[in-house]
């Protein structure tokens, strides 16, 4: 009998598609360098009217939301102990790891004094939602790296093979890795729970950010329950991200899509999307913000696209049995949810924000867009490199050894 075990992928790294992605990454990096040499004003369309643009609205707020799969799958597999989801935990963890790393990178290039970023660690302002986001994201990023360590030790235990004179160290390093591995697996559950708690905290605080902008925000998005909406939509977009990636990597590495797991995940989608749609609608009704929908304006159009295309339509799709059984349809439905959350973050941070003395509307510059795309491209490239180096993606294996000790991490045995 063959079982699914995570293995490093063995393929050529560069394909024509990967080369195109590399070009995007390089262009992005060029603009990042430009920002460090010439300042934020030279590269972006930001100014005193619009202090925040897509680097915060998309790279950070959306990036963190799309990385939510990391904590939702960890909760599912390790806290609720549903072992069948074990195979998606590692890809989701890797996505989260890269997603948060680049969210942090985006913050560092967006703040004017990037070399003072550590100030957030020593000068605390507990009233600031941004402080909360910053601290939680830093802590969670650390947790993610710790959660990833066992995958590294698994890769190298028994394979430490340094060349030449260094080979004397092989044994020592191997021993060290084994000790590290044992210690980690004893304490891993603390990190897993901490990760879930931290995620709930900063996913919601990202929503709190824009509340302080008060009347500058359009009432369709300015609501005291923004944090709740952000948390619910982050949880809602976690599984679609996992499905989206699972379908893509099964294409890229010519594996059979894990239809069974995808189907199970998609069964959870209708309630998750439903809850979001209900909270969003009730909030709009109670605050009587629907009056703004009666007029035909860019704002009402953006709102309708967000809610209907990004949430209601995929809800309908996920409710159908045929869709849930077809990886292609699941791919479409998942993409729609990702689009919905994209729109939601874009709208709260950009569409809804109108400063009192605005004399034009902000639109991201070529530089801003290039950096955003460049970071996404870098994430894709690193993801590809990581799954080729480390055992992340599960493949059917004929090994007799049933479950290795690494199949489940960080739980009591």
């Amino acid at each position: 009998m063959s079982i699914l075990l995570p293995k490093p992928m063995k393929y050529k790294f560069f394909t024509p598609g990967v080369i195109v992605i590399t070009i995007f990454a390089l262009v992005g990096i060029a603009f990042v360098l430009g920002r460090f040499v010439f300042g934020i004003g030279a590269i972006t369309n930001l100014d005193n009217q619009y202090p925040w643009g897509i680097w915060i609205g998309l790279d950070v707020a959306l990036g963190v939301a799309l990385a939510a799969g990391g904590f939702t799958t960890a909760a599912l597999a390790h806290i609720f102990h549903k072992e069948e989801y074990e195979t998606i935990v590692r890809p989701a963890l890797l996505t989260a790891l890269l997603g948060y790393t680049f969210a942090a990178a985006s913050v560092s290039i967006d703040i004017g004094r990037w070399y003072y970023i550590w100030h957030a660690l020593i000068y605390w302002n507990g009233n600031s939602a941004l402080f909360e986001v910053g601290i939680c994201v830093m802590m969670y990023l650390t947790v993610l790296y710790i959660e990833f360590l066992p995958i590294v030790t698994e890769r190298f235990i028994g394979h430490v093979n340094l060349p030449g004179i260094l080979s004397k160290l092989n044994n020592v390093i191997d021993k060290g890795l084994r000790i590290l591995d044992r210690t980690l697996s004893k304490f891993m559950f603390v990190f897993i729970i901490t990760g879930v708690v931290l995620s709930c905290l900063h996913q919601s605080s990202l929503g709190t950010l824009m509340i302080i902008a008060g009347d500058k925000m359009h009432p369709l998005w300015q609501t005291p329950i923004l944090p709740l909406l952000y948390l619910v939509s982050a949880i809602g977009v976690g599984f679609p991200m996992v499905m989206f990636e699972s379908v893509i990597s099964s294409r890229a590495f010519r594996l059979k899509p894990e239809t069974h797991i995808l189907e199970k995940l998609s069964e959870m989608m209708p309630p998750l999307l439903g809850v979001f749609i209900i909270i969003r609608s009730v909030d709009i009704l109670i605050r009587e913000a629907y009056v703004y929908l009666a007029e035909f304006s860019s704002v009402s159009i953006m709102f309708s696209i967000e809610l209907i295309v990004g949430f209601v339509l995929p809800l309908r799709l996920f409710m159908s049995k045929e869709v849930r059984k077809s990886p292609n349809m699941l791919f479409i439905a998942s993409s729609l949810v990702i689009f919905g959350v994209f729109m939601n973050r874009f709208n709260t941070f950009i569409t809804a924000y109108t400063p009192p003395y605005a004399d034009y509307s902000y639109f991201p510059s070529i530089g801003e867009i290039s950096v955003t795309l460049g970071f996404v491209a870098l994430e894709v490239l690193l993801y590809r490199a990581f799954v080729m180096i480390f055992p992340v993606i599960s493949v059917p294996t004929e090994e007799k050894s049933a479950k290795t000790k690494y199949a489940i991490r960080g739980i009591l045995r």
């Binding site: 005193n48 925040w52 004017g112 004094r113 939602a129 302080i212």
Partner: protein, 301 residues
Amino acid sequence: MKNQSRRDFLKITTISATALVGASATKLFASGNPTSSIDPMGVLVDTTVCIGCRKCEWACKKAHNIDTKPIEDYDNRSAFENYRRPDHTSLTVVNEFRNPTAESKPYDVKVQCMHCNEPACVSACIVGAMTKQENGSVIWDTDKCIGCRFCMVACPFQIPTFEYHKALQPDITKCDFCFERTKEALLPACVEICPVEAVTYGKRSELLKLAKKRINLYPERYKEHILGEHEVGGTSWMYLAGMDFDKLKFPKLSTKAAPGVSEAIQHGIFSYFVPPASLFALLGGIMWLNKNKSKSEPDTE
């Protein structure tokens, strides 16, 4: 062994949860900003008195070491052709508005930081670089600021500005109520130079009385509205005007203090770290229960 690790599990969960509450709660909420006194200092700007000489712009720049043209150049009234906002080149600017009832007497409106009683910028600042001082001034600390510009997102009057052209050490710039001067019992530079006393410096409560007196004495001269008396919870700088404030390009604001909702949520989510710690304990419990359940089931392999 199994029991051993289960006990470990509970122990570690409890310890982590308590540590989280204990260690962080005390520190986080102890670090408040110096709160404003009950009756801070303020300035009353009477836009019906201001003649638009823009000498305050010049004095403000001089007091803050900002490059400026000689004072004579400020007589040139072509500056009024475009609506201007304060920025790093000028912490305060004067704009002129047509007076529909008396063409020869336009209204001139000086703009600068309002020094809110409950400033959104102070509440928002990630590192507490913005602080509200005892005398009402809201000032910025260059040694702390990381340049995140959240203060700009938060300010309801769109006041803090940023030096976008600088790759290194860009500043947040805004009127600091001449904190360094008032410390030495000097008047704010703009107040000192004003030739017609359009700007009056004093205790906020006294200024309110003065404003009300003027409105009572000359009801035909003033609108019955002191901007800043109640807006966003009250501001140290307040305005009198002869026409509606929105026609003078002031934003329409509610009386609710801007940071109120946001801080309530922050404190609700965190209230001394009890909710996060409870979530931690709850998840730990669920993990433990599920683990036991799957252990008691016969192993399928």
